[in-house]
């Protein structure tokens, strides 16, 4: 009696092994500040509007400084005006300055002049 061949391969119910490795573009954020008479420093936060508790970036700048940071492209939300730059002047009852923006499409994103009271 000859050898039969089973008509289909015997497969296990397993997923293929696929590894993805992304290399992201970088975006340079530039924000020129106009320092008025008042605070000597300000906290700068870059965050998603719907997740203010976890900023993408946080630093302090001092009077006379501008803001300049390089962040990975995928850090930004793709949703419309979902990204937020917040400038919180320190030392007094200053109101924070908010600037909503879309995910940058170029390698450099420059904010308009931000006046710090």
């Amino acid at each position: 009696m000859g050898t039969k061949s089973f008509p289909e391969p015997i497969l296990l119910d397993t997923n293929p092994v696929v590894a993805l490795r992304y290399t992201y573009s970088e975006v340079e954020l530039l924000a020129p500040f106009k320092w008025q008479i008042g605070p000597h420093a300000a906290d700068i936060l870059v965050l998603h509007r719907n997740n203010p508790a976890s900023p993408i970036f946080h630093s302090t700048v001092f009077a006379g400084d501008s803001f300049h940071v390089i962040l990975p492209y995928n850090a930004f939300s793709e949703d419309s005006l979902e990204n937020l730059l917040t400038v919180q002047p320190l030392g007094g009852g200053y109101n924070p300055i908010h600037h909503f923006f879309n995910a940058p499409i170029d390698s450099i994103y420059e904010f308009p002049m931000i006046s710090i009271p």
Partner: protein
């Protein structure tokens, strides 16, 4: 003004594509993107629209693999895929009147039969008169012959 719109349009297209490299183990695997053949691996610097895509990998004597991936906007995406080999397995049983089953799915009654089996651990069940009389885990790592005899030590593997 028309030129401005054209430039904006080009920028949008540019940002919604990603350069993709596809490497496989083994090499020379035929790669399909959304059911369109891209060519044989390795595939370097192909440009793919961001978003959801299906990828399929085919090579003779390997398990065809399909997967859905979400390609995010990025500078570069490296995809690495490992295919699982199929091995020729000859199964020979000594006893009459048995029904065999691989992995709860594949049944047969022939005493001598050959299979193409995915590398890995398979479950063999043996039935007589619809009653389970044996169950074994068998690891397939290369082409091999499996001899089967129903007894207390019922299964032996012949390399």
């Amino acid at each position: 003004m028309k030129h401005v719109f054209s430039i904006v349009g080009l920028l949008s297209i540019a940002i919604s594509q990603t350069i993709v490299n596809i490497n496989t183990i083994p090499r020379e695997v035929t790669v399909f993107l959304d059911d369109i053949e891209l060519g044989d691996s390795p595939i370097n610097t192909t440009i793919i629209d961001t978003g959801k895509h299906s990828l399929r990998f085919e090579k003779k004597r390997f398990v065809t693999s399909s997967t859905e991936i979400m390609i995010a906007p990025s500078k570069l995406l490296d995809i690495q895929v490992r295919l699982v080999p199929l091995h020729s397995v000859l199964f020979m049983a000594e006893d009459e009147g048995l029904v065999f089953e691989w992995d709860e799915s594949y049944k047969w009654t022939h005493k001598k039969i050959s299979f193409d089996m995915q590398e890995g651990t398979h479950v063999l069940k043996v039935f007589r008169n619809r009653e389970l009389v044996d169950k074994q885990r068998i690891k397939i790592t290369r082409p091999q012959t499996i001899g089967y005899r129903l007894s207390i030590d019922s299964t032996y593997v012949d390399h």
